[in-house]
């Protein structure tokens, strides 16, 4: 008789600890800094101390004379190396040629001017100090609005208006919307520049093997394959002889979704000196020369009916681009335009974007990339409208939400929201926090002279990039599954996780599909010599694009497993479940491990079947995925000091199905911390000469554990129809939802003093001035 198979517990959906953690918490993971090669040299880069200057001369004689110095290169040595690549394109986009070392002028503090190579890092640092650069300092401009003003210093002399591009997008009938409006709300809203501050700074080790004409380059990146393609082009070498490895990567947040001058520079150096070379970015350099995020000045105009119905939104968006374009710099504000309607039902928008050059390091994708700015804008505007109409901010949101029966919902900006129930998340958050009661408490607090605020943000985002037409390098992802002869499983993913936890969640998927233990699976990534081409990690895409690629590869390999099972059991049909092929007629069974052995020994093969068990899948989604949620923050402002206390933080996020809720919590909590960082503390401040005043942790306020509130987190689950896993993506959601909830809360607290809007960060002094000013 047939034996009963015990049903193995499914792992997808379980809170499992991360497989990658043991090596991280025991300090045995290998980061770029840990890599040592025989004969390795060390590079230190000489950088511009000025925001804008002409280079009159460079004298390297003293530096070259220092014992241990093996080479020094300046701009004239690298003219044949391709310049830094911008992968984004817009009509009429002006692209400055950004050489990997400055030519005759520098245009931001930190601009690489020369590189010193020596037998150790200390000698290289000493020698870098001895390089004498003669600068003729010119006027800089660091504020994007000042840069647009007539007569401003030109960041690039060939474009005196400092305008890199103008971009216009319109949808519906904006003029009619404003003509029909009873109320029009106008507000200037800024989203300050932020420093991504990955825990690991950037770093590169490059090694050229002349005999093979082969380059190996270790770099701390989120996009190993794209980086290889781009760098191969810059260096003029064959992509197939170029192995790029992203070893352990200690965070990126978008700052490593890029290909930087230093990566090509190290490739150039090793090819020149025929020795391996290492460059590790200092924290100071990381502040100054790794991309920054945000950098918006936005002018919003919202048209609405007196009953609170929103009709249309106009936006003039001034994007501070910095001095040149990194990989995606000009594309980021276009994402803000896409998300400007938020979760609301109006279908008329009009957006004018100006991309502005300033003498600052470029902005580019930073956790959320364009969507936090848009969400902050619309969520502030909704609150301003509610205040104007004396409506409850929750009520006005319910009134305007896209309704569940409207999905898929085509927006005025050309997106197609996949699925959702926006009212459900807000209602759940309100129930959790006891909203009605809270408003009563607030009334009592106000009567007692206390400044208590309740802030709501109902955010949506587009992520899981994405269909290929919408993603510059291709919007698909790859996965390979190898079942080894013993039945152990090796998964290759083209994504490049660096903290997101896919070594665990992808193993969960494979374990469920193949019926093998988690421990029998390893997930590899980040090495172009091993992994088939992939796009990488950004835009909350690993699980939602890389996950389905893996899922479909697993389906293919299961088919093949079944063919072998059928042959080995001599059956007409077999089932495959929990790692066992079974003939339903006879009840005979054979395990995947036995099948794997047979597939490789290949003594006998099923018809039209090759030996081995390997499957590769490239998969592209048909659309983005659109997570959403509601965050509510209760705060209280101290009248005496302007301090803000977060009393409660409730977050209800809908990210579709959850593979591993523990990982989801981690992403949401970290995201919320970063979002609160922007709301309350962080800011990259430049002076008029282009010096970054908040260029170290003494002045740049990173959120610390002790500054974090307890987050009461919950979920609704609306599976995405876009992919077979029903997942939406969670990497950026927390960052996007938290910021406006915090700001709305504080403004609500101060609303009794007549405060309508405050720009971030909400520093204590800013708040104290408002309280104080109101008193006077």
């Amino acid at each position: 008789m047939a034996t009963t198979v015990t049903r193995i517990e499914k792992l997808v959906g379980k809170r499992l600890r991360r497989k990658e953690d043991p090596r991280l918490i025991t300090g045995t993971a290998t980061y770029v800094e840990d890599i040592k090669r025989p004969g390795m040299q060390h590079a230190v880069i000489v950088r511009s101390p000025h925001g804008a200057a002409n280079i009159k001369g460079i004298d390297t004689t003293k530096a070259a004379a220092l014992p241990g110095v093996s080479a020094i290169f300046t701009g004239k040595d690298i003219t044949h190396v391709g310049s830094v690549v911008c992968g984004a394109d817009l009509p009429g986009l002006r692209k400055p040629v950004h050489h990997i070392l400055a030519q005759d002028r520098v245009y931001f503090v930190g601009h690489p001017v020369a590189v010193v190579v020596a037998s150790d890092r200390y000698i290289a640092a000493d020698a870098a100090d001895l390089v004498e650069v003669d600068y003729d300092v010119t006027q800089a401009v660091t504020d994007p609005e000042k840069a647009l003003a007539p007569g401003a210093p030109a960041v690039h002399p060939e474009w005196p208006d400092n305008t890199a591009f103008l971009y216009h997008q319109t949808g519906g009938d904006i003029d009619k919307a404003f003509a029909d409006a009873d109320v029009i709300i106008k507000q200037r809203i800024t989203s300050q520049r932020l420093v991504p501050n990955a825990m690991e700074t950037r770093g590169v080790v490059a090694e050229w093997l002349q005999a093979d004409r082969a380059l190996t380059l270790f770099t701390s990146t989120q996009i190993p394959h794209l980086a290889r393609t781009i760098l191969a082009g810059q260096l003029g070498i064959d992509e197939n002889r170029f192995r790029l490895i992203a070893p352990e990567v200690g965070g990126g947040f978008g700052s490593k979704l890029n290909v930087y001058a230093e990566e090509a520079l190290m490739g150039f150096i090793t090819m020149k000196i025929n020795k391996p070379v290492k460059w590790i970015e200092s924290r100071r350099e990381n502040f100054q020369v790794t991309i920054q995020g945000r950098g918006h000045v936005d002018y919003f105009e919202l048209a609405a009916k007196r009953d609170g119905t929103m009709l249309g939104l106009r936006l003039k968006l001034i994007q501070d681009l910095g001095a040149y374009h990194q990989l995606l710099t000009p594309a980021i504000p276009t994402l803000s335009v896409l998300m400007m309607p938020g979760l609301y039902n109006f279908r008329n928008i009009d957006a004018d974007v100006v991309g502005v050059f300033t003498n600052c390091v470029p902005t580019d994708a930073y956790r959320g990339a364009g969507r936090p700015e848009a969400t902050h804008g619309i969520e502030r505007m909704v609150d301003l409208l509610a205040a104007e109409l004396n409506m409850d901010p929750a009520a006005i949101r319910f009134k305007n939400f896209v309704q569940p029966d409207q999905f898929p919902f085509p927006t005025a900006t050309g997106l197609n929201y996949d699925s959702g129930d926006y009212g459900a998340t807000l209602q759940k958050a309100m129930d959790m926090i006891g909203y009605d009661d809270l408003r009563k408490q607030q009334a009592a607090a106000r009567a007692a002279g206390r400044l208590m605020g309740i802030g709501i943000s109902t955010y949506g985002e587009l992520c899981a990039f994405g269909p290929s037409p919408a993603t510059p390098a291709g919007g698909w992802e790859s996965a390979t599954v190898r079942i080894e002869p013993t039945g152990k499983v090796t998964v290759h993913t083209g994504t490049s996780p660096h903290g997101q936890g896919q070594e665990t969640s992808f193993a969960q998927i494979a374990a469920d599909e193949l019926g093998v233990p988690m421990d029998d699976i390893i997930v590899l990534h980040g090495d172009t010599a091993i992994i088939p081409y992939g796009i990488g990690t950004f835009g909350s895409r690993n699980t939602a694009v890389g996950g389905p690629a893996l899922y479909y590869a697993l389906q293919d390999i299961k088919e093949k497993v079944k063919k072998f099972g059928k042959m080995l059991l001599d059956a007409e049909e077999v089932t495959f479940e929990n790692g066992v092929c079974r003939d339903p007629k006879t009840g005979k069974e054979i395990t995947i491990q036995t099948i794997a052995g047979a597939a490789y020994r290949a003594m006998k093969l099923p018809p039209d079947t090759d030996p081995g068990l390997v499957a590769t899948k490239f998969w592209e989604p048909s659309n983005f995925a659109f997570p959403f949620g509601a965050h509510i923050i209760v705060s209280e402002v101290d009248r005496d000091t302007g301090e803000i206390a977060i009393k409660r933080y409730v977050a209800v996020d809908d990210i579709g199905n959850q593979l591993n809720p523990l990982l989801v919590d981690g992403q949401l909590h970290g995201g919320a911390a970063q979002g609160l960082g922007q709301a309350l503390w962080e800011q990259a401040v430049y002076d008029d000469n282009g010096q970054l005043i908040t260029g170290e942790f003494m002045d740049y306020c990173m959120p610390r554990a002790r500054m974090m509130p307890w987050i009461e987190s919950s979920h609704t689950v609306t599976p995405s129809p876009v992919n077979p896993l029903g997942v939406k993506g969670v990497g950026e959601a927390g960052t996007i939802g938290s910021t406006p909830a915090m700001v709305n809360s504080v403004i609500d607290a101060l609303s009794t003093l007549g405060v309508r809007h405050i720009d971030m960060p909400l520093t204590n002094e800013k708040i104290w001035n408002l309280v104080n000013g109101a008193k006077a």
Binding site: Y122, D126, T694
Partner: protein, 284 residues
Amino acid sequence: MIANAFDYTAPQSLDEALTLIGNGAKPLSGGMSLIPMMKLRLASPEHLVDLGRLKELSYIREQDGELHIGAAITYYELESSTLLLGKCPLIAETATHIGDIQVRNMGTLGGSVAHADPAADYPATLQALEAKIVLRSATGARTLSTKDFFLDTFTTALEPGEIVAEIIVPIEPGLTGTSYQKFRQPASGFAMVGIAARIRQQAGTLSLIRIGVTGLSGSSYRATNVEAALEGKQPTEENIRAASALVGDGVDASADLHASADYRQHLATIYTAKAIRAALSRSA
């Protein structure tokens, strides 16, 4: 972020250290201020002499009715000393406001005093305690009051060849109440303002009040006008507020990205009152 080359000596005795320092070497204690400055190449000493390992500078003892603290005592040792917690709790409490655990394990009282950072915490506390600072060189020793020792921003009465060797603080009778209250600069955690208060009451009036201030201006100081306004008075809320408002009188308040002069002055007022109230609640 790489220091210039330098020599390093871990001396076996205080005498050896003082000889080297007399010859121009620079003292190193916890390194929590000096090493970052060297890494940024803001300081490039040629020779460091490590005082942090000297047993002769590492003690807390009671002697002749006072507490003597060796310069190399770390913040962690201060905050966890039962002797201090019992007999001069303000000095233990202050350590808990400093940096993070790593910094408190390394940083020393002597280093903080010698460094005289205008936003450091201990200067305020030592001012309020009327501490004495013992300086030593290869040729002798002298003892200064805090007023005579802390001169200006990063500037003290230390002469070349001299080190801070010891800090002497009073044993507080049980009646004394003390408190250190600090408003942190959000990024660095240093004091935007820090106020140390020390108070004794007698028959409903304040028989002693000492206020030490840090962070507000270029140097720590004792707010004698606040003290004068309250000494001999009843500690009513009204009196406390009125006196606290005097804390920054005539003081040239610092201004930076994190706080304007006005805001700092205001915080100093608020935190002075806060420190006084807390000290009062702890005085019998």
